[in-house]
């Protein structure tokens, strides 16, 4: 798939020569949701901008654009990151999964994540702007990526290989990388607990 973020590219810019010739745009291959995309981009373009503007994947939201709100969260090589602070040019060869990718994977398996009914039951959402991303840490907690990480509320003297117990405080701390302007936090944390405990 070919895409571009608005301006034309001149050269690769990924060699030491690039510095001398002041190449500021490149053509790179990004692997997003199991699909390779050839993208022409400015080096200053963030991954979030390329996902939204060049690839049309708009479930990753631009909230704060400076790392504070979590609305732009994607998985990079299986771990959650803020795509607004990543330069797209530096992500060649890495595996990127957006909310669209997670949803497609769930549909392919004819699977409704248990968080969905739990969230509906508790009537969690207000405007739902933060919803796709807010679901993720709770959904991930028991299984994926950084699940083995304790948060700061976890007793640190825990034996090294003991699993982290997902207490209410633990779930809340995991959600803390996601701001919700409607303040739907209490129900959100309870929903997480519904499915993990």
């Amino acid at each position: 798939m070919e895409a571009r973020n608005g301006r034309s590219a001149h050269g690769t810019g990924r060699t030491a020569r690039g510095a001398r010739h002041a190449v500021t745009e490149s053509r790179v291959t990004l692997r997003v949701n199991d699909t390779e995309h050839r993208v022409e981009l400015e080096h200053s373009a963030t991954l979030l901008e390329v996902l939204r503007e060049a690839l049309g994947l708009t479930d990753s939201q631009k909230g704060c654009d400076d790392g504070r709100c979590g609305a732009c969260t994607v998985l990079l090589d299986g771990r959650r990151v803020n795509s607004c602070l990543l330069l797209a040019v530096a992500q060649e060869g890495r595996e990127i999964v957006t909310v669209e990718g997670l949803v497609a994977a769930a549909h392919a398996e004819d699977d409704r994540h248990p968080l969905r009914p739990a969230a509906e039951e508790r009537d969690v959402l207000r405007c739902a702007y933060c919803a796709p991303e807010q679901h993720r840490p709770a959904a991930e907690a028991p299984t994926a990526g950084d699940s083995a990480q304790p948060s700061v509320v976890t007793e640190i003297d825990l034996p090294t290989d003991a699993p982290v117990r997902l207490t209410a405080d633990e779930v809340r701390d995991r959600l803390s990388g996601h701001l919700c302007r409607c303040g739907a936090y209490p129900n959100r944390a309870d929903t997480g607990l519904d499915v993990v405990v």
Partner: protein, 331 residues
């Protein structure tokens, strides 16, 4: 954002050549601070040298019992490394108290140490700031300075260093390994950062083009215990107003080893040498701990909006040192 070249070297030599020690060149780690500052126009590099593919991300136990942490090891990997959880739990506490899960997955060890101050005037191009534009003045000294320094500041700059990791490393007597045109050298973390004096634009002892390649942690003193405690405006996802890192080893109730470092109070992690000296060899009581903490904080010079920091730091240090000196399990 200003257009920028991007270089993706595979060896240290290529990285050094691409950087060339030029003031407009920047190494790119996780980018969580640099990209943010580029958006704000505070950083305007003409070339970014990506160092995340240099294979500098290993965390390795050495034969002598020390731990070598590669410069690009991610904060989340460091916090959960078995050797860190077992031998430097305070380091894990410091890392996990910072930022968010997403940011810790991106942030690198060296990038964390070299992140710039969160001073709002530094980040706002319309304000004077000696750190950003030497000689332009300091917006914070007479401005809103609730989050600024109470120790070691100057009439040129009252900024604080924002890293939690650096505070823990200061108390652990860590070493920073640097590679540059002059070869390899190691600098104790406690000597790595500069006080602002009349050149707040100079923040570390790094020379032009030097790259941090690793942080070295010595084996902790046998039988020592450690703790990191951080106070902030809300329980999660925000920077320290004040913090304390400490390592203590007791022998029959008496302090045989003690290091204490404050965060959030100064332009660099602040080693409380006077507190340490006052405690060493004593069998601490609440009163002696109080006097020891006071020995360091008596020098504090608060600004208009941050006198609360001294009281906050006092309370944190008291709690941390009391906990560590009454902890069961130490002979």
């Amino acid at each position: 954002m200003k257009p920028v070249s991007y270089v993706n070297p595979r060896t240290l030599k290529e990285a050094a050549a691409a950087h060339g020690g030029r003031p407009e060149a920047r190494y790119l780690g996780g980018g969580t601070n640099l990209v943010d500052l580029m958006k704000l126009g505070v950083e305007r590099p003409d070339v970014l040298v990506d160092i995340t593919r240099l294979s500098l991300d290993a965390i390795e136990e050495q034969a002598d019992g020390s731990l070598r942490v590669g410069a690009t090891a991610r904060n989340s990997d460091l916090a959960t490394h078995p050797a860190v959880k077992e031998r430097y739990p305070m380091l894990a506490q410091a890392l996990l108290s910072g930022a968010s899960g997403q940011l810790r997955n991106m942030a690198t060890t060296a990038g964390n140490l070299l992140q710039r101050t969160r001073c709002g005037y530094f980040q706002d191009l319309s304000r004077p700031c000696n750190k950003r534009v030497p000689g332009s003045g300091c917006g914070a000294i007479e401005g809103v300075n609730r989050e600024h320094a109470v120790l070691g500041h100057s009439s040129h700059c009252v900024a604080t260093h924002p890293s939690d990791l650096a505070v823990a490393l200061a108390a652990l007597d860590a070493l920073v390994e640097l590679v540059g045109p002059g070869g390899v050298r190691t600098v104790p973390l406690t000597e790595f950062y500069l006080l602002p004096q009349d050149r707040p634009d100079l923040e570390t002892v790094m020379r032009p083009g030097e790259l941090v390649t690793a942080v070295l942690l010595l084996a902790p003193p046998a039988g020592s215990v450690s703790r990191y405690r951080k106070a902030r405006d809300r329980a999660g996802y925000t920077f320290a107003l004040a913090s304390v890192a400490a390592v203590v080893r007791l022998e029959r109730g008496a302090v045989r080893h003690v290091t204490v470092a404050f965060g959030g109070l100064a332009h660099r992690p602040w080693r409380a040498r006077r507190t340490e000296a006052a405690l060493l060899g004593t069998s601490p009581t609440p009163e002696t701990i109080e006097r020891a903490v006071e020995a360091e904080l008596a020098d504090a010079v608060p600004l208009r909006h941050n006198a609360y920091k001294v009281e906050l730091a006092r309370g944190l240090a008291h709690e941390v040192l009391s906990t560590l000196t009454t902890r069961p399990g130490t002979p």
